[in-house]
Amino acid sequence: MEQWLNDPMIQASLAPFTVALAVAALLFKLRLGGLAAIAGFCTTAYLAGGLALFPLTATRKLLLLGLMTPALGLLADFAFKATRRTEIILGAAYGLASVWVFWSILSQKSGIGALLQGGGIAVFVGWTVGFAASLREDAVRAGAAGLALGLGAGAAAVFAASALLGLYGMGLGAASGAVLLVQMVSGRRMHAGLTFALTFGALGALVAAAALVQANLGWTELAILALVPLAARIPVPEKWPVWGQSALISSYTLACAAAACIVAWLAGRGSPG
């Protein structure tokens, strides 16, 4: 069993998928199915590197922020009805939070270098979180975006040399895939809310940003990944069944993820260490 759980493929796919599937199926009717994303992600994080938070490195700040996000989303879902302004505020807040996450690295750079990288990361994370939050009312679109953002950020991180960040991203993608699968099988849309949308948006964006700041991912790959939540908004035939809509939207979002991965692969091939 231990040997099985030490297998990176299990850590990043089957384990988070199974846990997220169970959480989504169990909490579906309680409108808490969105917690599946963090449950799956935490499964991967625990198996791949543990959930220790000290000393508080950038990767651990990422985990900490990820752990706090569904709580914030849950609170927001129950406390008030989110609007367009909420999306903007959340995007700005997470953009600033991303600077905190990577501050220990940014502070070692020169003034202009830190400003450019920190500013770029903040814009990317803010953009992704804001548009992810805009998918909160449609769990099919949110699930498809989470699936692609997680898998895309994860696979691109692997091509950028970090397997750990890769596992984090793929774990998030597998968990979002479980959320999508529950809806495809049941034929009913679940409640995503900010609980799910914020979690996949923040974690997916932060994993991709970490792969840029701490590994070898490029800005082009980040820009392509930023299109994932937009691709999830492309209209689909409303009369189609849930599984058909899920498949079609996922094909849009996964195309963006695949494009980012191809660029990451090609970038690596061009610059041998």
Binding site: N6, A48, G49, G50, A52, P55, T57, A58, T59, S104, I105, Q108, V158, F159, A160, A161, S162, A163, L164, L165, A210, V213, Q214, A215, N216, A264, W265, G268, R269, P272, G273
Partner: protein
């Protein structure tokens, strides 16, 4: 008379005092390489080394004491081969990420230790290794040590160097990725040379 005797005794003692004083040596980055061995999939032990080091060695041979401080540039990790060989990135690229040495966040690791002597030369170092922001004790066994006139300075300078071995668990420093496929026990094999400036 007594005053003259005191001055004479002081003058005689001066060279002895100078010989007993601690001597500073600068670590020679061209001949100092911290190397490591780590198990890979339970099969072979992979060797790697760090190519950039700096530091200082202080020796007091009369008092049989000494200290060493070494700073290692973690981005200089080198396990070869440097070609991609079908991979998207090299192993060293991977070692530089948060999976292992996290070099963007922790560009240096440091070792500070105090030498323990047996006979003429140090035979052990008791110290602290700081890696990934975590400081843990690390005791090194000095398997060889010697000081010789530096032939490159026609004997005016002095060259001290040796080899030291140690063992750490990387998980103690929070480096847990890939265990057990990539071993937790890291054997350290350090060759070092230090020069007394002219």
């Amino acid at each position: 008379m007594q005053q003259k005797l005191a001055i004479g005794a002081f003058a005689l003692a001066l060279p002895l005092a100078a010989a007993a004083a601690p001597v500073n040596y600068d670590v020679d980055p061209v001949h100092t390489f911290p190397q490591f061995m780590v198990g890979h999939f339970g099969a072979a032990f992979l060797h790697g080394r760090f190519n950039k080091t700096s530091g200082k060695l202080v020796l007091d041979r009369e008092a049989k004491s000494g200290t060493i401080e070494i700073t290692i540039d973690t981005a200089s990790v080198d396990t070869g081969p440097h070609e991609l060989l079908g991979r998207p990135r090299t192993r060293d690229d991977h070692l530089r990420t948060p999976d292992f040495f996290n070099v963007k966040e922790f560009p240096r690791m440091t070792y500070k230790g105090t030498a323990k002597w047996t006979g003429e030369w140090p035979t052990a170092v008791q110290g602290q290794l700081t890696l990934l922001g975590v400081t843990r004790p690390l005791n090194l066994e000095v398997v060889h040590f010697n000081c010789v006139p530096d032939p490159r300075t026609k004997g005016k300078g002095e060259l001290c160097g040796g080899n030291a071995n140690g063992l750490i668990k990387r998980s103690d420093f929070g480096m847990k990725f890939g265990i057990p496929a990539v071993g937790d026990d890291i054997r350290l094999l350090i060759q070092f040379e230090a020069l007394r400036p002219l």
